[in-house]
């Protein structure tokens, strides 16, 4: 049995159950709640001293902060079925209310609801889903005083995997840059791979820092690397997704000819010892990222 026929069968079963048992409002129609509602909505009409604003009808039978759906509530039952079929997200699309008369203070309303229609699956901008329509009727005693047709779209969120759009470079994780590291990123913007060189003893160091661990000098300078080296180790990253990257991708730890190691994405088949060279990719005006590619002359 397909999902479609299974869902339709369940929908028919719930619809056949008809109206749920009447659920009585927590409180009778009352002036304090009317005043609160008018204040929230911003309605300054002075006429609501004996009767309630019709559009307030749903308020009387709301479940409260800790309310739970009644076991025979058709919308709850249908939601559960669609959840289980993978249509896990919901958005309300229509709410049409009809008022037969004003409700008077002191009247105690109850509400029933039934499942009117379930159609699908439909392809929507949000993803494939089912439109579920319920009809609610408010009663005072046996007299119907208001009705509402309420429609929701219960959908399966569109899978980003399906289309695999080119990841936006702008989404990539950006480095933090401070006065100790700015020279490196400035270099990348100028298509230069810079390695910190101690102004005192000449020690090459990456990642850089403000004080030379060899001689204690605080005069860091830099040299511009040839950007050539070999892969010292590497990872092929599969899971989880990484912002701005399309999996699987390779990250290589490269030992540069100058002797320091540096991480970067590698565009190519990885192996330890593979000769590589640096490539610069501009992300935006502030950020250019260095990465590696196999050397043509290898």
């Amino acid at each position: 049995m397909t999902d479609k026929t299974a869902i339709e069968k369940e929908a028919a079963r719930i619809a056949e159950q008809g109206e749920s048992a009447p659920r009585l409002a927590r409180d009778p129609v009352n002036l304090p709640m009317i005043n609160n509602w008018l204040e929230v909505i911003g309605d300054r009409h002075p006429g609501y001293t004996e009767v309630a604003p019709p559009a307030m009808v749903q308020v009387w039978t709301m479940g409260g902060l800790h309310g739970q759906r009644a076991p025979d509530d058709p919308l709850g039952a249908m939601m559960k079925i669609l959840d289980e079929a993978g249509f896990t997200s919901v958005v309300a699309t229509n709410s049409d209310q009809t008022y037969h008369r004003y409700l008077r203070i002191g009247e105690h309303v109850s509400v029933t609801s039934s499942l009117e229609d379930v159609t699908g699956p439909k392809k929507t901008a949000l993803g494939e889903g089912w439109f579920v329509t319920t009809r609610s009727t408010w009663y005072v005693g046996d007299e119907a005083v208001a009705e509402m047709r309420f429609r929701v779209l219960k959908f399966r969120p569109a899978e980003k995997q399906e289309t695999k759009p080119e990841p936006q470079k702008a989404q990539a994780i950006r480095p933090s840059i401070n006065r100790d590291t700015e020279y490196f990123w400035e270099g990348c913007r100028n298509q230069e791979l810079r390695i910190q060189r101690c102004g005192g003893c000449g020690l090459l160091r990456h990642p850089p820092g403000p004080m030379c661990p060899e001689c204690g000098a605080t005069k860091p300078k830099y040299l511009v690397s040839d950007g050539r080296g070999v892969v010292y180790s590497y990872v092929v990253h599969h899971h989880p997704q990484v912002p701005g990257k399309q999996t699987p991708f390779v990250i290589a730890l490269v030992e540069l000819d100058e002797g320091v190691r540096m991480l970067g994405e590698l565009d190519g088949e990885p192996s330890i010892g593979l000769p590589v060279e640096v490539v610069f990719t501009k992300v935006d005006d502030e950020l250019t990222m260095p990465s590696w590619r196999p050397r043509a002359d290898r």
Partner: protein, 380 residues
Amino acid sequence: MNAAIVGIGATDFSKNSGRSELQLAAEAVSAALRDAGLTPSDVDGLVSFTMDTNAEIAVARELGIPELTFFSRVHYGGGAACATVQQAAMAVETGAAKVVVCYRAFNERSGHRFGQVQTAAAANIDNSWSYPMGLGTPAAMVAMFARRYMHEYGATSEDFGRIAVIDRKHAATNPHAWFHNRPITLDDHQASRWIAEPLRLLDCCQETDGGVALVVTSADRARDLPQKPAHVKAATQGSGPDQFTMTSYYRDDLTRLPEMGVVARGLWERSGIGPSDVDVAVLYDHFTPFVLVQLEELGFCGRGEAKDFVASGALELDGDLPLNPHGGQLGEAYLHGMNGIAEGVRQVRGTAVNQVADVEHVLVTAGTGVPTSGLVLGAS
């Protein structure tokens, strides 16, 4: 050291605790105090470690601990697990506190997931040399070491897999383990998907919701308490040359964990025992390759020989060095090493579900690839 672990406590280990991290912490501490035969008013010290959202004062409030004279939080996440006991033991020895509780609690699976890319972590300058390049998960960071280790010593994915198989075998008979009754074979390991090559899914520990707490007091006081004390024979931290958190890629040798070497030296010196005196090893196993490197750093085998040591069956419950009898973090739960310390205490007490016979000394290590720590617990 004149200190002992006299109480252990834990919540259930799950994937969705359904309660706040503070509640988990409070429940674990409460259970540990009950186990120790102590009450919140006996406690005057609390220790946790970074990446725990539960402030010491918040835990004190929930438990009704009236006053604290010592509170401390150790850095570098899982690497600090055993260091909490070191802090507590030092506090007890110096008189800074009389009863110190160490705790860890989080919703690491249902809440903030540790295995995902922590974009915010890139704000750290050190991380700016790795995260923006796409190296942003603990698994990937360890995989970089593992690839080089394989290259240098000829270790294979199967060699890593044997650690997972042992842990899951031990977890299978531990009712508290998430993977209770669910052992795996080496074939299962080899069939599991790549996470960050050369690491497969079954090389990586779980993400867990839960809490663990340990009660530390002086050895003198321990004598008057109901449980058999697990004496802190040695506790030390370790950081190595040119140390980074998870990405110490700029040292000469990528096949070692020098910070664990520092811990090993400290433990053997201070406890007066050596590798051959260890009856049970609880080694931090967030990722299998680092269990092999730890065996080498701690002196159980030579460099590059861990794969043969593991294949020899030494780590089985009836082997020379029973490993993680509770199932480790691959099998029981990933409480950043704290559940491993609790297992060490049970092995010393003789109350573990997979009890090793006649345990005199248990070695426990903390997180690897980061500045780390270790413990030797003793029965006397």
